[in-house]
């Protein structure tokens, strides 16, 4: 993991001082609301429905146990004893007091953390693959490049007042676990006869206009990464729309310009910049790679370890052992080193808002990381936490320990592993609540055998079209909408981001539903899937084969559906 040098530390101290001064001037009335607004946003500070919300950057999702312990104590001392993992791998505090935030930032800086550029119209925290460095399908570890881009974009003087926010994601694996084609810039690392470089995607995004990125450049040599990013950002800064915030993202500029002429503009600007811009030297890249070298894996007797696991999971009949087997199947994954597994701690037990984690749990994650995973964890887009380097021989012990803290819901990758924004309960932007809808779905689908039988299925709920939960790239996406002051929910089907060859935006299936009807509507959709699937076909495969028609027919026969719910017949309140 990257460790701050003296310059990093110095800059962070200076930022804390700067923001302390800005906050004091604001509180004394010497800095206007209008002037303070972008300054506080660039420090991750929103004024929310109930209290300020502070977003802490977790660069590309990496956290050390020391940082986790600090987050635990901050949750206790400055908040109500919990925090929230966001869909961009960051951490949010929901209840800090404005006047305490400078001190909170100072505490964060002690563990090399900050809130810089986690909000506002600037380059946001770089996101990446939560399995970086350990995934079996990885070609190149993206983290050294993530850190180089993090540094380059941090306190960037030219790009602090962009038309709108700007997000960069980097992936180095065959499967895309970072949804790079739904970012302003998506970088896919690759290696060919010209050496190491990037396939550059541009102009993707979610929000009210979900757009898949366009391919800007098939191969960018790694030495040119930063000058090329500078060219894209500069063109965007100068030519992105500033007259309408809903049309200000890069995706709109790319679409309006057309990818070919946009690429031309970038090329011209880049050639102008490149000669004046220091190249990324091999030495700098190598130095950065050293921070992310593999930990000291033990040489495990794979045969014995796997044999033991098989024995534990095949022969046993005790319910607890069945639970272990389920967990092993759902919540652990392949690792590049034989005998090791990745373990996902589920933050999705029924009834807890997705991604919420208490101070005690944070402490526990730190202890688990120290004991079983070299003291490091990763946060995920799905709002869970990954222990990336667990020896298979430790799995049973880890499971028993993690169970005490509620981390072992064996639902990773299933429909109850719901990604959910804070929604109308917390967020000032939301049109509708999202947390209660997620809980109602979890409660409706509490039969895990049924859930497992459905297989890999993503379900994401956003409380407004800003799409923080990424509902438009979910197999089943739910969007909260406001209809004349009442909360309704639109369902989208068929979105997906994992397959780099065909990322897809989901399609709205039809008129929206009331919150009460959502679980039943989902049940109808799942019944259609179960009915139509041909052996082994996944939910998303059925949708690509059949389209939305059979789902529509089942949901809206004559646009008023009679449902069987709680063994009584009632009409589903379709809002047309």
């Amino acid at each position: 993991m990257y460790v701050y040098n003296d310059i990093d530390k110095q800059l962070l101290r200076e930022r804390v001082t700067q923001f302390r001064d800005q906050t004091q001037r604001f509180l004394k009335g010497n800095l206007s609301d209008d002037a303070f607004l972008p300054l506080r946003l660039q420090n991750g500070l929103y004024i929310q429905r109930l209290a300020p919300m502070l977003r802490v950057a977790v660069p590309y999702g990496m956290l050390s146990s020391t940082q986790l312990r600090k987050l635990a104590s901050i949750s206790r001392d400055y908040d109500k004893g919990y925090c929230h993992i966001t869909t961009r791998q960051n951490i949010q505090f929901n209840w800090p007091k404005l006047e305490t935030i400078p001190e909170l930032l100072k505490e964060l800086s002690e563990v090399e953390m900050h809130t810089i550029q986690t909000s506002g119209n600037c380059i946001r925290n770089v996101t990446s693959d939560p399995l970086a460095g350990v995934a079996a399908d990885e070609i190149i570890d993206p983290r050294p490049y993530c850190e180089l881009v993090r540094q380059w974009s941090t306190l960037h003087p030219e790009f602090a007042f962009l038309p709108r926010k700007f997000k960069i994601a980097i992936s180095g694996a065959t499967q895309d676990r970072a949804s790079i084609q739904f970012h302003d810039i998506g970088l896919q690392i690759l290696e060919n006869e010209h050496g190491r470089g990037f396939r550059v995607f541009v102009g993707g995004g979610l929000g009210r206009t979900p757009i898949k990125a366009s391919l800007l450049r098939d191969f960018l040599p790694e030495r040119d990464l930063l000058s090329y990013l500078c060219a894209i950002l500069r063109i965007y800064n100068q030519q992105g729309r500033r007259d309408n915030k809903y049309k200000a993202r890069l995706k709109i500029l790319v679409r309006a310009t057309g990818i070919e002429s946009f690429a031309e503009k970038i090329e011209i600007e880049w050639l102008r910049i490149r000669d004046h811009y220091p190249e990324l030297q091999e030495e700098a890249i190598n130095n950065m790679q050293n921070y992310f070298s593999s930990p000291n894996y033990q040489t495990l007797d794979v045969k014995t370890v796997e044999g033991e696991l098989n024995r534990l999971t095949t022969d046993l009949l005790e319910p607890s052992q069945r639970a272990f087997k389920r967990w092993l199947t759902r919540n652990t994954g392949e690792h590049k080193i034989p005998g090791y597994r990745t373990v996902t701690l589920s933050l999705k037990p029924t009834g807890i808002p997705a991604g919420d984690i208490t101070d005690r749990q944070l402490q526990a994650v730190a202890d688990l990381a120290d004991r079983y995973s070299f003291g490091e964890v990763r946060t995920t887009q799905q709002q869970n936490i990954v222990l990336a380097d667990v020896a298979s021989s430790d799995l049973l012990e880890l499971w028993l320990a993690a169970k005490q803290y509620g981390f072992t819901s064996a639902n990773i990758g299933t429909m109850t592993d719901i990604t959910c924004c804070p929604g109308g309960d917390f967020c000032a932007l939301a049109n509708a609540k999202s947390i209660p809808v997620a809980e109602a779905i979890q409660r409706r689908f509490d039969d895990m055998d049924y859930v497992y039988d459905l297989g890999e299925l993503s379900l994401k709920i956003s409380g407004c079209m800003n799409a923080c939960a990424h509902h438009s790239i979910s197999h089943i996406g739910i969007l909260g909408v406001d209809k004349k002051g009442a909360e309704f929910y639109q369902i989208m089907l068929g979105g997906s981001a994992g397959d780099i060859a065909k990322p897809t935006v989901g399609k709205v299936i039809g008129p929206s539903f009331s919150a009460a009807d959502i679980p039943e509507a989902i049940a109808i959709i799942l019944d259609v899937y179960v009915d139509k699937r041909i052996e082994g076909e996944s939910f998303i495969e059925v949708i690509s084969r059949l389209g939305l028609r059979p789902f529509k027919d089942a949901l809206y026969p004559a646009r008023a559906v009679t449902l069987k719910s709680n063994s009584t017949e009632k009409t589903l309140g379709v809002n047309i």
Binding site: L11, R15, Q151, L155, H156, P157, E158, A160, F161, N237
Partner: protein, 166 residues
């Protein structure tokens, strides 16, 4: 280009409630003082519009020439790049502090080798001074109400930057 006629027009009146910080010092603005007092100024400042119309004459005179550009100017469309070495002052006028186009314009001017005074004017706030400076500005026109010590501190908000700067 819509701002051309609005800002930096020849009739522009320099308000006395402004101060100028250049190279981290409070100083007089020779362009302002010169235009006020002399028929044939030693310092001449013009709008982009004037520059485009009178480029030839403006370059033949001996004066120190200053041009004011709106922050949304497209450097490749304003016929300035070939004459950068003949211009002594480029003022970039910000219409609102949240519009970051002027930051890129300044970086581009420095990148093309402009070595004269690069001045930020208009709607800028103290909290931007360090970033403006890092983009190549070396002069700042600010409200006379601002405390000079606070301005100078804001210019030194950070001791280093991760990016190449000017």
């Amino acid at each position: 280009m819509s701002n051309i006629n609005k800002v930096g027009s020849p009739e522009r009146v320099y308000k006395t409630d402004k101060i100028l910080i250049k190279n981290t010092d409070l100083c007089n603005d020779p362009w302002r003082d010169s235009e006020k007092n002399t028929e044939k100024p030693i310092y001449k400042s013009v709008s982009l519009c004037q520059w485009r119309q009178e480029r030839g004459e403006l370059l033949t005179e001996e004066w120190a020439l200053g041009i004011t550009l709106p922050a949304d100017s497209d450097l490749y469309e304003i016929d300035l790049l070939d004459d950068l070495d003949k211009i002594d002052l480029i003022s970039i006028e910000f219409s609102t502090f949240t519009d970051g186009r002027g930051f890129s314009l300044a970086a581009q001017l420095r990148q093309y080798g402009f070595t004269g005074e690069l001045r930020a004017t208009g709607a800028i706030i103290l909290d931007q001074l360090y970033y403006l400076y890092r983009c190549g500005f070396n002069a700042f026109e600010l409200s006379a109400n601002e405390d000079v010590d606070i301005i100078l501190n804001a210019l030194k908000a950070f001791s280093k930057g991760y990016q190449p700067g000017w």
